[in-house]
């Protein structure tokens, strides 16, 4: 997905950025026919903007500048995974990443797992952490009686195809 043309709207850019940060497809994050109302992308961009529109804009600009690079490289660069002194952009990227995984907003400076605020009911339910562990949100199963007695479907279904040059 990272190789797609530069997205047109700010929301499109935010979704493309979110896909790269999370490792999940854009269609997983924001399906064409989004069953969630309001859509999570809208809630999450609002939450990030509420913290600092300026930083979100700076992050989106940095993302646009990395266009064409492998998704993992872009994610590592924006999140500053090797830095011990991350910039405001990187801290914002981490907060957005936590939002998608946990449905909770963490202030960019937070390092405490219990500090999050649940953004909305659907945000909790839509947390990617549950998909990453091949499970379902605790309290929201759409599965059938006894499913827990067999292994879940493979993870690959929700992820973009692995990139050839990714080690």
């Amino acid at each position: 997905m990272s190789n797609s043309p530069t997205p047109s709207t700010r929301m499109d850019q935010f979704v493309a950025l979110s896909s790269v940060l999370t490792g999940f497809t854009q269609d997983t994050l924001a399906p064409q026919l989004d069953p969630t109302d309001p859509p999570l992308k809208k809630l999450y961009l609002e939450a990030a903007d509420k913290s600092s529109t300026q930083t979100v804009d700076a992050l989106l600009a940095a993302f646009a500048n990395l266009s064409g690079q492998p998704a993992q490289t872009i994610a590592n660069t924006l999140l500053e995974v090797d830095s011990t002194n991350p910039t405001a952009n990187a801290l914002m990227a981490r907060s957005i990443l936590k939002l998608w995984y946990l449905g909770s907003w963490y202030a960019p400076t937070s390092l405490i797992a219990t500090d999050g605020t649940v953004v909305a009911m659907n945000a909790y339910i839509g947390g990617l952490a549950w998909s990453a562990m091949q499970a379902h949100p605790m309290g929201y199963s759409e599965l059938k009686f006894g499913y827990w007695n067999s292994a879940p479907p493979p993870l690959s279904g929700v992820l973009p195809p692995s990139e050839a040059n990714h080690g």
């Binding site: 999050g116 909790y124 379902h136 605790m138 009686f145 827990w148």
Partner: protein
């Protein structure tokens, strides 16, 4: 009776015990009034679900009202986990907890279990575990002569009678289990069933976690007992039953089953109301019972309120009936009786034995957690919270020396131990290591390196690898009855209606603590046998409410949510509060029911047994009302 407002029975508390008694008496045509302190049963559970989804801390109480930490301002405050986290501050903790004793840590600990005060009671967030006691559980004094289990601690009931009552309770709750799967427990711990008995529904399938532990402990023995995994009889539907769906494995029995596949007492309450003979009145907090000079209960005094927080002006009323049942749970029952003291009964009602409020017990919970070897996921966070346990260590000759325990296998990864997935997700984004899964210089790393900070596919893969290998076990340890572990009334601190709040004295004796140590030993031995890596670590847990030190080691205990023992049953009125029918020795028209009646607690989760006893009480009440 001609006048519908003339009641045969007033029941205090709309939980499972009160519900069963109301249903049974309603079916007999008796007129029943239930006074429930808290909010009505909601028309649908959607509001409770929304509360749950939006709570940052998904504690057992999180779906239920009220959501404040202000016991002095609430009409029906109750113990909560958030309150427990503030246990030293009585402005936030409803229970007035003990002052910690720095000289001997295991004394003066906080009582760590919670309960609800709403229609349906605490079954809203029970796990559904429906284990029976075994015959030896009833005779800890006379058979095991266990230290601390003095005269008055044998149950005044024959196991054969209890067996019949269990059948009724399992039918009402709707228990899913297979007698054939339980059969190995006959030789191991003496569990038997009447010939030909079958549970109401087929067993709940085991989880992949259960299967991994089952394979790992194959051939193992501990403390002279075989170690094996047994599917847990559970009050959740494996087939459509009682207009409720089958379990969809929401992994959320506690705090709330989203689809009511798990039984809760609203089922029984609705059936009771449908008899046409039962009335329920919500937001009616009983303050005290009044007794005449002969000791017969003459009326119940209660307060009705409109607002939960800062109730403002309230109304005090009285209602009379032929008989009375206190079914308000094991802390509220003694609270009401102690608050009913008068010049004729200076120690409170039903308290000539001085046992009322004493012998407060829980199943002391030892929690441990581990990670399966790489490449061997067990796919937790799926299925009911628990589907199996190790029950084979619940009974044995060791009980003359130390407490027994059962081991509950968890299907929710490290959610209980460390609050996952939140802790581990934060760790791998922040580069922190609260979970212990993201250490500095991970094993196999050639050069010193900091904890990982990840994003993109790397994050997905790291989380998938760690989270799918997590599992935990919780040992529920039999706490011995101690007279000094008790509920009294705080002389000064009040709730929002001006009623005195429960004051707790609580701690562990050596018998219980040695059981705790054996539980730790067994848990570690099982992880080792499985080839799993144990991560249990309480060395930095000083700020947790259940922290204590014993034999030079750091521990944390948790409450199991099992509040028991405070109005124990017995045949000797000098040593017990109620008889085998849960009828007060002192007041012939008063019954006091629930797990407070347990003289000893053994190891099974108490709901099934207290439901069984409620059927016995209903029969005894029915007879008394017919005479």
């Amino acid at each position: 009776m001609a006048d519908p407002k003339t009641y045969d029975v007033v029941i205090v508390g709309a939980g499972i015990a009160g519900g069963i008694i109301a249903l049974e008496l309603g079916r007999l045509g008796k007129h029943v009034l239930i006074l429930e302190a808290g909010a009505p049963i909601p028309a649908s559970r959607e509001q409770y679900m929304e509360n749950f989804f939006l709570s940052a801390a998904k504690t057992p109480e999180s779906p239920y009202p009220p959501k404040t930490l202000a016991p002095a301002e609430e009409a029906t405050p109750r113990p909560t986990i958030l309150g427990l986290n503030n246990w030293k501050n009585a402005q936030k903790s409803y229970l007035v907890q003990p002052t910690p004793d720095p000289t001997f840590q295991p004394k003066q600990l906080p009582f760590a279990s919670t309960y609800e005060r709403i229609g349906g009671g605490t079954t809203w967030h029970w796990l559904g575990t429906s284990l029976r006691l075994v015959p030896d559980d009833l005779v800890m004094h006379s058979y095991y002569k266990a230290p601390g289990f003095g005269p008055g601690t044998d149950w005044p009931i024959e196991y054969s009678e209890l067996e019949t009552l269990y059948g009724k309770a399992e039918d009402e709750i709707g228990v899913s289990a297979s007698v054939a799967e339980q059969a190995p427990l006959q030789q191991a711990i003496g569990l038997t069933y009447p010939a030909g008995y079958q549970y109401p529904m087929q067993a709940i399938p085991e989880s992949l976690v259960d299967e991994a532990i089952s394979q790992g402990v194959s051939g193992m023995s501990l403390f002279g007992q075989p170690v094996f995994v047994t599917p847990t009889p559970a009050g959740r539907n494996s087939q459509p039953r009682a207009n409720r769906p089958v379990c969809a494995g929401n992994t959320n029995c506690i705090p709330i089953c989203p689809i009511q596949a798990k039984y809760d007492a609203t089922v029984t309450l609705n059936a009771a109301l449908n008899t046409g003979n039962v009335d329920v009145q919500y937001r009616s907090v009983v303050t005290r019972l009044l007794a005449d000079t002969q000791g017969r209960i003459s009326s119940v005094e209660y307060i009705t309120y409109n607002r939960e927080l800062k109730p403002g002006p309230v109304t005090t009323s009285q209602v009379s009936a032929t008989t009375y049942v206190l079914a308000a749970h094991a802390i509220e029952n003694p609270k009401i009786l102690l608050n009913s003291k008068s010049s004729a009964f200076p120690n409170g009602l039903a308290n000539s034995s001085d046992q009322l409020g004493r012998n407060l017990m829980d199943h002391v919970l030892y929690l441990s957690w581990a990670l399966m070897p790489e490449g061997k996921p067990v796919f937790p966070y799926r299925g009911p919270l628990s589907t199996s346990g190790i029950e084979s260590l619940r009974n044995g000759p060791f009980r003359s020396q130390r407490a027994a325990f059962r081991m509950e296998i968890g299907n929710e990864g490290w959610n209980f131990p460390i609050g996952d997935p939140y802790a581990t997700v934060n760790d791998f984004i922040n580069g922190t290591n609260v979970s212990a899964l993201n250490p500095v210089t991970p094993p196999g790393t050639p050069q010193p390196s900091p904890s990982l900070k990840l994003g993109g596919r790397d994050l997905v893969m790291a989380l998938n690898d760690r989270l799918t290998r997590q599992f935990r076990m919780a040992c529920l340890i039999e706490q011995s009855p101690q007279a000094e572990n008790r509920v009294t009334l705080d002389p000064t601190l009040k709730d929002g209606l001006g009623l005195p709040r429960p004051k707790i004295s609580y701690g562990f004796d050596k018998y219980t603590l040695d059981g705790f140590m054996a539980a730790k030993q067994a848990s570690s031995a099982i992880y080792q046998a499985m080839g799993a890596t144990e991560f249990t670590d309480y060395s930095k847990s000083q700020s947790q409410p259940g922290y204590f030190e014993y034999e030079g080691q750091s521990f944390v205990f948790f409450g199991a949510g099992h509040v028991m023992g405070t109005h124990r049953m017995g045949s000797d009125p000098k040593l017990s509060v109620v008889d085998a029918n849960q009828r007060s020795h002192d007041h012939e028209n008063l019954w006091i029911v629930g797990s407070g009646s347990f003289p000893t607690v053994a190891t099974p989760n108490p709901t099934l047994t207290l439901a069984a006893l409620a059927f016995k009480t209903a029969a005894s009440l029915g007879k008394a009302l017919t005479l």
